[in-house]
């Protein structure tokens, strides 16, 4: 099932498979800092093709490969590559396929990883395709909820901020709809969750939309915060007004449940002020740290099977 499998979209996985990754990531946790004693990727070469800049995703993937005993080659910007000469993605993939045992791809076009998986014999892992899928981020988000709260089923999970363009929100909310959860979407009118995403989720789990966090903060187990980007607003004053409404202040958190956790895919700007970092609710740095064991778990499953 897992051996040589492509990781393209969270929609390709069943709930049981998601749980299998989560449990494997938990096993990997101690090795994320010390390295896996069996070096499961020894002698293996993994390509990281990053057509768009990234900090956490690329570094955590590379760290995961090294911790598993493998080697990495690739690029993190396009200046020194044939892409600037106009090479198509499918041609690049055909070539890199012969240089490595797996390909990790980030690309600005949605569906790029699916296309790559059709041209590669080696497994392709999607590290984010434009505003589309980012399955490893989704899996690490689910791992964070599971690890920090003990389960995913039964939880009430709220998303706040830019729900229109935020791919992490789209992907995670779709994945969570496989579980027994309630989802809450809190955003300004301009940045509401797209119809086509809501349509898919609505069929499976209870969904509630709200304009402000105060309305629902007391109900939530998880508050997943995303950045509201200035460039989404034609009028800067409108941006300031809206962005100010969705700042997670410590006073707001006092109204939340004792075990409420705050997550954020990072980078954050002003939406979570630094004074929240020391709050017992803050989990966003821990969430980012789970990127390595989660990606180690996927590599282990792909290279060694179940």
């Amino acid at each position: 099932m897992w051996l040589n499998r492509d990781i393209v979209s969270i929609g390709d996985f069943t709930k049981e498979e998601v749980m299998q990754v989560i449990e494997k990531a938990n096993e990997m946790l101690p090795y994320a800092s010390s390295g896996h004693p069996e070096k499961p990727l020894s002698g293996k070469v993994v390509s990281t093709l990053f057509y768009e800049p990234s900090t956490r995703t690329r570094l955590s993937f590379e760290s995961a490969v090294f911790r598993m005993g493998g080697n990495v080659l690739g690029f993190g910007s396009l200046e020194a590559t044939s892409v600037v000469k106009g090479e198509t993605l499918s041609d690049t993939i055909r070539i890199v396929n012969s240089y490595s045992d797996a390909i990790i791809l980030r690309h600005p076009s949605e569906g790029a990883a699916r296309l790559a998986s059709e041209f590669a014999d080696v497994p392709v892992i999607n590290a984010g395709d434009g505003a589309g899928q980012h399955p490893t981020q989704t899996l690490l988000d689910i791992f964070t909820i599971w690890k920090e709260l003990g389960s995913v089923d039964g939880k009430k999970i709220g998303f706040v901020g830019d729900l229109k363009y935020g791919r992490t929100v789209h992907s995670l909310s779709k994945a969570l709809s496989m579980f027994d959860v309630s989802l809450y979407f809190i955003s300004p009118e301009e940045l509401k969750i797209p119809k086509h995403i809501k349509r898919e989720i609505d069929k499976k789990v209870p969904v509630r939309e709200a304009k402000n966090i105060e309305e629902i903060i007391e109900e939530l187990d998880v508050l997943y915060v995303t950045r509201i980007q200035k460039e989404r607003f034609p009028d800067i004053n409108e941006y300031k007004k809206v962005a100010g409404t969705y700042v997670i202040r410590p006073s707001l958190l006092t109204r939340g449940k004792r075990n409420l956790i705050i997550m954020h895919p990072l980078p954050r700007v002003n939406e979570i002020p630094p004074e929240v970092d020391s709050s017992p609710h803050a989990r966003y740095f821990k969430q980012a740290s789970y990127g390595v064991p989660l990606r180690m778990a996927l590599l282990d499953l792909i290279f060694r099977g179940d």
């Binding site: 979209s9 198509t88 993605l89 076009s109 949605e110 569906g111 790029a112 699916r114 296309l115 395709d129």
Partner: protein, 156 residues
């Protein structure tokens, strides 16, 4: 003068009749069947015709051309429920209702401008059928779901 009670389009001797096309969709059906300009055969089109079943409908009759069912099922994307009659010697030899295929390749453009299939890669668009009623398809690559209005706007 007596009120005309005959059909607006004559019966055909041989060919394909596409009936019960939702009103206003006849030209999209022709586009899907790749019939434009001089089709090389006689094509009659009736739009905004009274229909017992639909209230109003469009009808297309293509003479001397027997379309196969794969070709015809593609039109279900714009004319779900249309009735096809294959005619020979003025007799209907086969009659069926179109059904959208489970996979559709190449005849639609993905409505998502940022989809990899719209970026100059050498790849054909591909969609899978999510639901027949209401009609909904999903891009195999970017996973964007498209409803009937988007489908019609994106016929290649």
């Amino acid at each position: 003068m007596p009120v005309e009670k005959t059909l607006k389009i004559e019966k055909i001797g041989k060919g394909t009749v596409i009936d019960h096309i939702p009103v206003g969709r006849a030209f999209q059906v022709l586009k899907i069947l790749n019939i434009s300009g001089d089709a090389g055969v006689t094509v009659s089109i009736a739009v905004h015709v009274k229909s017992k079943k639909l209230g109003l409908k469009d009808v297309i009759k293509i003479e001397d051309r027997i379309l196969d069912s794969t070709e015809l099922n593609k039109i279900a994307f714009v004319a779900n429920g249309a009735t096809i009659s294959i005619v020979e010697n003025y007799d209907v030899i086969k009659k069926f209702t179109v059904k959208p295929p489970d996979i559709i390749t190449g005849i639609l453009k993905c409505s998502n401008e940022r989809c990899i299939t719209n970026s100059g890669e050498n790849v054909k668009s591909s969609f899978s059928l999510i639901s027949k009623n209401p009609l909904m398809i999903k891009c195999h690559y970017c996973e964007r779901e498209m409803e009937i209005d988007e489908i019609i706007q994106n016929i290649i």
